[in-house]
């Protein structure tokens, strides 16, 4: 079975700037795949190359087995892209917009499917409204509808929930999850890491045009197993033996606090839950009194920060 998207050694240079440096990854059919990275990491460049909006300097990309350059018609028919920018054609209504997009893909009389998409995205009441009259959230829904109008097996969503209210976000994910259950491959880029953690089966992290992590979401979280033990200690400083486990944690910062009176807030990395007892014993032996204690599980944000730090 062909990969939904196969990216092989793709590089993209703009003059002397390398936006992508030999990226390779394969996304299987039916996956919910997350593409994460800081701003400027190359996520949108990679998506643009997959979509045919940008030409790679070298390397190959296929969508459902079709080369995005030499078989661009088949590749683009297999792909639906929700662009990051909130773009629309101000001359047309929502329904006209969707009919036009259908026509580009060679589909006529697509109104049944258009009505179904409109209903699922809660857009039915806006079908005859001009695009200019819609709110930002509504325009975002139309972008999603345009990406789905030709029933593509692979759907790429580039920051689809940026600036979108909670209600729309939940409705959108409900619909996208349904499409994924029905067999559509979903590729998502987002800055909301909790969304990626909740939705994605597998995640690639990009940094400066390079894939720095590529694994199942669960495996990535396991790689940083355990979590963080947050303590507020009174009476003595953290024992020296535990210093190597201290991690930076914005919540644990003592800036502006009276450490002598309130105690020191520390955050310790927990690699193995079985080791917590030993850590607490060491604290007690050092004469510390534990005023507060909280165990935080690792989330994707911790993994992301760690991966980005490790690859500096």
């Amino acid at each position: 079975m062909n990969a939904a998207i196969d990216v092989r050694c793709v590089a993209k240079r703009y003059g002397s700037f390398e936006a992508l440096r030999g990226v390779s990854l394969s996304i299987e059919q039916g996956e919910f795949f997350g593409l994460l990275g800081p701003n400027g990491a190359g996520k949108t460049t990679l998506i643009s190359i997959v979509a045919g909006l940008t030409r790679a300097s070298s390397g190959d990309v296929t969508v459902m087995g079709h080369d995005v350059v030499s078989e661009f018609r088949a590749a683009r028919r297999a792909l639906g892209v929700v662009p990051q920018e909130l773009v629309f054609d101000p001359f047309f209504t929502v329904r006209e917009t969707l009919r036009i997009t259908s026509g580009y893909y060679g589909i006529r009389r697509n109104d049944d499917w258009i009505d179904e998409i409109l209903a699922n995205l809660d857009l039915a009441s806006k079908a005859e409204s001009n695009m200019r009259a819609l709110s930002g959230g509504m325009k975002r829904r139309v972008l999603v509808a345009q990406a789905l109008v030709h029933r593509p097996p692979v759907i790429v969503l580039d920051e689809p929930t940026a600036g979108v209210d909670v209600e729309l976000r939940q409705g959108l994910w409900h619909f996208i999850r349904r499409l994924n259950r029905e067999g559509h491959t979903i590729v998502l880029t987002t800055h909301y890491l909790e969304e990626a953690q909740e939705l994605c089966d597998r995640i690639a992290m990009l940094k400066q045009g390079t894939v720095v992590a590529l694994d199942r979401t669960r495996s990535l979280l396991h790689r940083f197993a355990g979590g963080r033990l947050q303590l507020r200690l009174v009476g003595a400083p953290l024992p020296r033996a535990l210093e190597p486990l201290r991690v930076e944690d914005p919540v644990a910062k003592d800036a502006g606090r009276d450490v002598a009176a309130d105690g020191e807030r520390v955050s310790l990395r927990v690699d193995d839950y079985a080791g917590i007892e030993g850590m607490l014993a060491a604290v007690r032996e050092a004469g510390c009194r534990i005023e507060e204690m909280e165990l935080l599980h690792t989330d994707l944000e911790d993994v992301f920060v760690q991966v980005m730090k490790e690859t500096r």
């Binding site: 703009y14 080369d67 661009f72 920018e85 773009v87 060679g106």
Partner: protein
């Protein structure tokens, strides 16, 4: 994959092409007051003012009044300018607002995109030209010596300017650049093409220079269709504008195929 050029796509997506054409036609029809009615009014004002001032002072072809001479020129000027305006403004608007992405994401080939933009431009040019003709024909005695030539020159002229609009729309990255293209290239070439005068009335050097302007052949050939008289033979004009159309089409197709300033 780094090859710069879009490979030949098998076949021609009639449905995709027809949809883009329909969209481009709807785009100018929805703002018809601005895209059709306004240029018709402008051309009528040109006719009223120029014919009032020059009717008894300028003699062009034998037995042809100045107003009658001017009218086909104004019709052709309107055809050309509006064909250019359609594709250039559509492309630059779509580029700047970002909605061109929907065309670029689609499976349309560069030939289908080219054909749709140019044909829509031709339709707008012909619609405006027909409008100008209908409202101004009352002011002049016109004959139709060779109607087929009228149609051929109008179609080819609008195709050339529609194609030039595609080139300008792809090249320009802001509205200012389209305005420069229109004001510094299209407008001078149109006004110096013999719309308002016969180039035979010009001094020798300027006559020679006029013969280097392809717009002159479009207007002169178009006018031949009405009067059966022209500054150069219609066959020569046809050959020149056919070569011009081939040249600008090759440039526009190349730009679309390589994704110049479209697919980065």
């Amino acid at each position: 994959m780094g090859a710069a050029r879009e490979p030949a796509a098998p076949g021609f997506s009639t449905q995709g092409f027809a949809t883009l054409l329909h969209k481009e036609v709807l785009r100018f029809v929805k703002v018809g007051v601005q895209t059709v009615a306004a240029p018709v009014l402008t051309a009528m004002l040109y006719l009223l003012i120029f014919s009032h001032v020059l009717e008894d002072r300028v003699q062009v072809f034998d037995g042809v009044r100045y107003t009658s001479f001017l009218l086909p020129g104004l019709v052709m000027m309107s055809v050309l300018q509006n064909a250019f305006a359609n594709s250039s403004s559509s492309l630059i608007q779509s580029k700047i607002t970002g909605n061109l992405v929907f065309v670029l994401l689609s499976p349309l080939s560069h030939r289908e995109i080219f054909a749709a933009y140019v044909l829509a431009s031709m339709l707008r040019g012909m619609a405006v030209g027909a409008g100008v003709f209908v409202v101004t024909a009352w002011f002049a005695d016109l004959s139709f010596a060779a109607p087929a030539w009228i149609l051929v020159f109008a179609l080819m002229g609008s195709a050339i300017l529609g194609t030039m609009g595609v080139i300008a729309g792809i090249w320009a990255e802001k509205f200012d650049q389209i305005a420069a293209f229109q004001n510094f290239i299209i407008m001078p070439l149109t006004f110096l093409s013999g719309v308002f005068y016969s180039v035979k009335s010009l001094p020798g050097f300027w006559q020679t220079l006029s013969h280097l302007n392809p717009f002159f052949y479009m207007v002169d050939g178009f006018r031949y269709g009405f009067f059966g008289a022209s500054d150069v033979s219609p066959a020569t004009s046809l050959a020149v504008i056919a070569a011009t159309l081939a040249l600008v089409s090759a440039i526009a197709l190349r730009l679309l195929a390589t994704g110049y300033r479209l697919r980065h």
